[in-house]
Structure formats: C-alpha cells, structure tokens
C-alpha cells in the first residue's frame, strides 16, 4: 500500500481541484421548465402533508382518507363523488389535464419544522406540484410560506387562524376552511339567544396563532353582545392535562368557560372541566356553561358524553342535506365505513378545487392556477354557494353553529346542527383589523 505524500504544492493543487469541484454545480444550467415540478411522463404528483402523530393525529388521518378518495375520483375510480354535483364541469375523471394523479404522504407531527422538512422532501424529491394538508394553523402558515418560496400551490387543509389568510397570507396559498372571525360572528348571536347578554367569560386558549386569533375573535364578538371577558389563559399546545388551568376558573367569578382548544387538547380540557363539575355549578345565579368555538366530529367522539349541549361552530357537517354533501358522504362511507369529518371534507374539496382550477387554466403553472381560483364562485361541494375571494384567497360560505347532541342515536350522531349562519353575516372586509398587516405578494411559479 503506497503512502500519500503531502507537500505544500500538493495541498495547493488539491485545494484548487476541490474549489473547482465545488464551483462546478453553478455551471450546470437549471432545468428549463417554466415552473417548479412541471409534470412529465403522464402523471402529476400531489403532496398530502398531514399530522399523523401529535395532538391532531386523528384529524390528520381522516384528512388522508379524504385526500386518497379525491385522488381516486379524479382518476375516474369509484363513484366519482362530488364530480357530478360540482357546478364546474371541467373535471372529467381522467386525472388532471390528462395526467394520472399520484400522491405522496408525509407526517407533519404537528410541528412547523417537521412539516416543512416533510413538504420540502415532497417538493424536492417526489416532485409534488401542490401541497395539501394541515390541521394546525402554525403548521399551515409555515408550510404556506415554504410553498410560496418553492413555487408550488398550497391548498390549506384544516386551518382556522385568522392569520392564514390575514397577516400571513401568501399568493400561492388558498384556504377553503372558515376562520376564527367567522366562528365568532356566527356563534355570538346564538350564544346571546341561549345564554343571555349578561355573561362573564373565561378563556383557555391554545398558545399559538390559531388560539390567539380565535380568542381575539370570540372575545370581540361576545363583547359585542354584552358579555364580559374575565380572563384569558394561554396553555401550551403539547399539554395533556389541564386540571391546573381549570381550577382557577371556579374562583374567577366567570359563568362561561370558552375552550379555544382543538383536537386532543379540547378532548382533555373538556374532560377535565367536566371532572371538576363545572357544568353542575351555579355562578352569579346562572348555570355554568362551556363553549367550544371550533368543533369537529372526531373531537366530539373523543369527548363522548361530555359534549352534551356544548355549543360550537363548524365548517361543514355530514348531516347536511344538499347534493354535494350526500354524494361525498355516500362515497366516503362506502369506502371507509364511517362518515367524514369536516377536516376530511375541506381537504377533499381543496383537492378537487385545485384539479378543477388546473383544468380551467389549462396548465399546472401555479400562477395560472391561482388566477383560476381567484374570485371563483362554485357550489356542489357541500358548503352551498361559495366564493374564493381574490383579495386574500379565503373562501366565503355559510357557517354551521352546532351543539353536542342531547340524545345521540348512534356513534356518529354526536353533533346536531343548531343554525346555518348565512354567508353575509360572517363576511368581512379584506382590510379588517384582525386580518391586516400582510400582503399576498406576487404568485411564484418557481424555477
């Protein structure tokens, strides 16, 4: 075995060679495509980035089922679901623009860092041209920013923070789900009617963008009908035991507890609150009440008996009776043996909306797709007539006020619809103070 003899000259030469080697990549030209991940070979890849672990895992796994169902429908498999009820008839069940739809999945772990790593690998490795998913607004905002930089479309899944289409809105990001402001606007009148004008509310709030903006929205809306906000306590997202947060509520003089919690957090905090007997208490001569502004079927199932009579709001519910809902619920139920949650529905709708926008634009180019989605009015996906507003890429549609069913007839009949709040009541100006401070910027096609 020969020894490597090192001399000063040798090192210099070696260093120069390494330098050239490092500089070489810049001499290659980038791919000559007009936009990031332009589909090749007759197939197009969508990236489904959902929490499969962490406090929102239930929601994420349900979203994944719906996304897979949407891909099947787009490729002309199964019964076609909402393709027949959707008012836009651009989709023919032959994939998107003739390209067969394939998908990759990733786990966000309900953490911004992990979600971005997962989305990046989908974009860089698997060639995903659209990212769909979420279930935490912090994650959705982080991934939306990434998609903007990478030049792909982000179709937000379940994200309810005002910031997603407010302060942190991006030209490449679109949200079908409703938001904290809309929840407040829909809930406040119902709460006023049920519980009266003279109430004192205590807020427990998940400590991140969604919790903050929802708390702000609910407090503003309820104060608008005469309620008083006694206190707002922030709780870490990763908490699993809320007893220490519930105990002070009893001595605060509040008679309503607002839980700005979601997923596993809400199941745990509500269960803690019931264990402390809050609902059996009388404060200020009134029955103590609990409100959960953002509801989902999966949370209701997790909380079981405890949610009886508790009010909240939803984007959509499988019990609605319009054609779009019926078609989707039938299709989902036949495939998975249970009704879909509202997080599943929003992901399903977003996937179809993306595909439809591609068809109408005649391209996968994010700028073309964004233009096709902006100001798009449609119906037949389950939410009634809906508008994708161009100013902030937020969908406007009716909002549901629901409450925990008093006498559930089966395992899935956990929530009953109290009121369908009309779209006009939850609309707001794009420059509303709760949404101000950001700018869409320009659409970025990448490459």
């Amino acid at each position: 075995m020969s020894h490597i003899k090192t001399t000063r000259r040798g090192v210099l030469k070696g260093g120069a060679a390494v330098g050239v080697g490092l500089a070489t990549p810049t001499f290659f030209t980038s791919m000559a495509n007009a936009y990031t991940n332009a589909p090749t070979g007759g197939s197009v890849t969508l990236g489904f980035n959902v929490p499969q672990t962490g406090p929102y895992a239930d929601e994420g796994n349900d979203e994944l089922l719906a996304q897979q169902l949407a891909v099947a429908h787009l490729n002309g498999e199964g019964d076609g679901g909402c393709l027949s009820t959707f008012t836009s008839k651009a989709l023919k069940g032959n994939g998107i623009l003739g390209n067969k739809v394939t998908f990759v999945t990733g786990d966000t772990q309900t953490k911004s860092d992990a979600a971005r790593a997962s989305a990046k690998s989908m974009i860089e490795k698997d060639g995903a041209i659209m990212i769909n998913g979420g279930s935490s607004s912090g994650v959705a905002i982080a991934v939306q920013g990434l998609c903007q930089d990478a030049g792909v479309i982000f179709m937000a899944g379940l994200t309810h923070s005002n910031d997603t289409t407010g302060k942190d809105k991006k030209a490449n990001g679109f949200r079908h789900f409703f938001n904290g402001y809309m929840s407040g606007a829909a809930l406040a009148p119902v709460l006023e009617k049920e519980y009266g004008k003279d109430r004192r509310a205590y807020h427990l709030t998940a400590d991140y963008t969604w919790g903050w903006t929802q708390q702000e929205s609910i407090a503003a809306a309820t104060e608008g009908v005469g309620w008083e906000t006694v206190n707002n306590v922030l709780t870490p997202l990763a908490s699993t035991d809320f007893s220490s947060y519930i105990a002070p509520v009893l001595n605060s003089g509040a008679d309503v507890l607002v839980l700005n919690h979601y997923g596993g957090n809400m199941v745990n905090s509500l269960t803690n609150a019931i264990q402390f007997g809050l609902l059996d208490k009388q404060v200020n001569g009134k029955d103590f009440k609990i409100v959960v502004p953002l509801y989902s079927e999966l949370m209701a199932a997790g909380a079981g008996e405890n949610i009886k009579g508790v009010f909240g709001s939803m984007n959509w519910n499988w019990q609605l009776q319009d054609d779009g809902t019926k078609a989707f619920v039938k299709s989902f139920g036949e495939k998975y043996g249970k009704p879909p949650s509202n997080s599943a529905q929003t992901c399903y709708a977003q996937t179809l909306l993306y595909a439809d926008a591609c068809e109408r634009a005649g391209t996968h180019n994010p700028c073309g797709v964004a233009e096709a989605l902006e100001g798009f009015e449609f119906d037949g996906l389950g939410n009634g007539p809906t508008l994708y507003r161009a100013d902030d890429h937020q969908c406007f549609k009716d909002v549901l006020v629901v409450k925990g069913a008093e006498n559930p007839t089966n395992a899935y009949d956990t929530l009953e619809i109290v009121e369908k709040t009309p779209r006009a009541q939850v609309e707001y100006a794009p420059d509303h103070p709760m949404f101000a401070g950001g700018a869409l910027g320009d659409c970025n096609p990448g490459a």
Partner: protein, 397 residues
C-alpha cells in the same frame, strides 16, 4: 498536512471526498424504479445530513471527550436559528451576518448554562442541562413571543425592515448572491443528481468543523478533556483545576450547536421553538451513541442514519407497501402489509428504536465499531490471523 499526521490527513481527505460526492452517493437507484423511494440525494435531506453532522460533531467534543452527558444542546440549536432569522429581519437575507452572530450568542448561552451546570457532574449535570433547555424552550414558546413568535415560529415578513436589502437582492437566504436553495440537476441515463448550493455551503462548513474537531481531539487540550473522562477525581487531586477545561469544551460544543442551528435557518428561513424541545436534545445523544461515542466519524454517521430514517422511512405509506407486495396472493399481501405498516410511515420511530437497541446491545461502540469489526474480520481472514488485534487500528481516531 495542515498540522495533521499522515493518517489523519488521509482520513480528512477521505471525508472531504465523501462529502463532495454525497449527491451522487445518496442517489444509487435510477429515477422511476421501485427503489427510487430509498434515494436520499435531494437538497433538503443532504443539507440536514451536513448540519446535524456538525451538531453531532460538536456534541461529541463534550460527550465523547469529557464524558459529560448534556441533555440540553437543542437550546443552543434554537438560539442559533433565532439569531440568523433576526438578522434576516433586521439586515437582509445574506447569511454572512447571521452565522457569526449565531455562534456568538450560542457561545454566550453555553457559557452561562455551563457555568452553572458544570458545578455538578454525572446525572446531576445532565438534569441541570435538561432543565435549562426546557426552560429555554418554554421561554421561547410562550414567554418571549415578541422575540420568537411562539409556536408559529419566527419568519421574515415583507413588512420587516431589512435595512441592507438591495434592489436586486434574492428574496431568500444567500451568500453574496449565491442563493441557497438553487440547485443544478445532472441527468446521467436514468439517474438524476442534484447539486445544491446550500448543501455545498453546509458541506464546506461541516468539513471545517470536522477539521477543527480533529485538531481538538489531537491537541493537549483534547488530552486534558480525555483525562477528565478517565478520572476527574484523580486529576483534581494532582492539583489541576479541571473546570476551565470542561467549561471550554461545553462552550465549544455549544457554539457548534449554534452554528448548526444557524445553518438550519440559512437553508430554510424559519426558526421554531420546537427545535429547542428536549426531544431534539435527546436526538443528538442518540446520534452520537448510535454512531460511536468518542470517535470522530461516528456522530456524523449517526446523524445521517437518524435523519435518513426520519425522512425516508416515514414516507413509506400503505399504498407504497401494497405496490411492493402486489405480486403476492391477496390475503398474504394484506397480511404482510398489515405487519409492515407498523414499522414504516408514522411507525418509523419503532424501526429506529429497534435498530438502536440492536446496535447498542451488539455493537456497543456504535456504527464505527461495526465497521471496525468487519474490517478486522476481513483482515484476519485474509492474513490468516497474522494481523493480531494489536496492529488493528481503531478507526476514525
């Protein structure tokens, strides 16, 4: 060369060669084949290999040399990231401002935490560092939210000042115009190799970091640290004050972690509080142990191993499994997929945990130990046992 002996120079050259060729080495399967799933040669993951390599190298200076097991290194990672993103927000996207600041702030942090924690050793030291890291996490998560933006993570907004921002400056992290997320693709037959600027930037820094740690390992200072690990009590009895040495090692490894954190933010302009959580601190311990504590190359291998699992195995879902086993009869296919799906996708932790157990039980010296055993076995077979254990070299050291 460069103050290294012949063996170390060769070792360093090998490391440099491996690092330069990473985009090719990690892309062994042609695009479109079923095995392309296992390719890891895409920019984000390669960057992570280099960055977590730096993190683990730095951790190894403390843990491998002095034996002090810190459970709080993620705090420095987070501090580094926040420093860089703040420089983006205040000055501009050039990483040249943020990275030195990241090293300085994390060094100061390490000095403060180390000064207190190093008064104790063993388990008490570990617990103290863990406590400090968890404190930093909670402070970043919910107390200092104006500074860290809490759970959402600190990011750059168009409304930020960015006083140095030029008219034509790239709108993402760059080094004097070399944009980090730009890459060039090279098509060779069915293979696609991606050469990414960000990766090579990290790689150059990683090599420098590696070289520095090599020098530390070989220096009298390194010997002193090894003495601490060997028998600190005896060292103290001889009249030596070992604390300045351990504190220096702690600060150096904290600065390495800060640099790694800064690089994370240089590749992706976002800093999240969860980067500081104890799980992240635990991860670097796993990396070091998995690769081989106290060896030079081990921690880097361990870092690559864990990041590979996190990013590649977690993306194998049931659909992929079904496509692999579709040639089996239906019932059998479902059964196999049902068993395997616990170990891939979201179950990647399980696979990693089992491998970790196997390695710790059967290869106490980590992956490097495994490599040296294979080499020895090979040598013995070839030389008919002539090369006894005395002449066999401990690799990587």
């Amino acid at each position: 060369m460069l103050g290294l002996n012949k063996k170390d120079s060769k070792f360093l050259l090998i490391v440099i060669a491996l690092t330069v060729c990473t985009p090719i080495l990690l892309q062994p399967f042609p695009e479109g084949s079923g095995l392309a799933q296992f390719n890891a040669g895409y920019p984000d993951l390669m960057q992570r290999f280099a960055i977590y390599g730096i993190f683990a190298i730095g951790f190894n200076i403390l843990f491998g040399l002095t034996g002090y097991l810190s459970f709080g290194h993620a705090a420095f990672l987070g501090v580094g990231s926040y420093s860089v993103v703040w420089m983006y927000k205040l000055l501009d996207y050039n990483v040249i401002w943020g990275l030195p600041l990241a090293i300085i702030t994390s060094g100061l942090f390490a000095l403060a935490i180390g000064y207190v924690s190093l008064r104790r050793s063993g388990i008490y030291f570990s617990i103290l560092t863990l406590a400090f890291a968890q404190m930093s996490f909670n402070v970043a998560y919910s107390v200092l939210t104006p500074l860290t933006n809490g759970e959402t993570g600190l990011q750059v907004y168009t409304s930020d000042k960015q006083i140095l921002l030029g008219a034509n400056e790239p709108n993402s992290p760059h080094l004097f115009g070399l944009v980090m997320n730009q890459s060039a693709k090279l098509n060779v037959g069915d293979w696609v190799f991606t050469f990414n600027i960000g990766y090579y930037f990290c790689a150059v820094i990683a090599i420098l970091a590696f070289y520095l740690s090599l020098r530390i390992f070989r220096s009298p200072f390194g010997l002193m640290l090894k003495a601490v690990k060997c028998n600190q009590q005896r060292m103290n009895y001889t009249g030596l004050n070992s604390r300045p040495y351990t504190l220096a090692a702690f600060v150096i490894s904290g600065m390495y972690a800060g640099l790694a954190g800064g690089l994370l933010a240089s590749m992706d302009p976002l800093a999240g509080a969860e980067r500081m959580q104890w799980t992240a601190s635990g991860e670097v311990v796993l990396m070091t142990i998995l690769g081989g504590t106290g060896t030079l190359m081990g921690p880097v291998l361990g870092a690559g191993f864990i990041k590979y699992f996190e990013n590649i195995f977690s993306k194998i879902n049931e659909t992929v499994l079904h496509s692999w086993f579709s040639w089996l009869p239906d019932g059998m296919e479902d059964a196999i997929v049902w068993v395997l799906h616990f170990f891939v996708g979201k179950g990647w932790h399980l696979t990693l945990g089992m491998l970790f157990m196997l390695i710790v039980i059967f290869l106490p010296g980590g992956l490097v130990d495994g490599a040296s055993r294979i080499r020895e076995w090979y040598k013995n077979r070839k030389g008919g046992g002539a090369a006894s254990s005395e002449t066999s070299t401990t690799p990587a050291e």
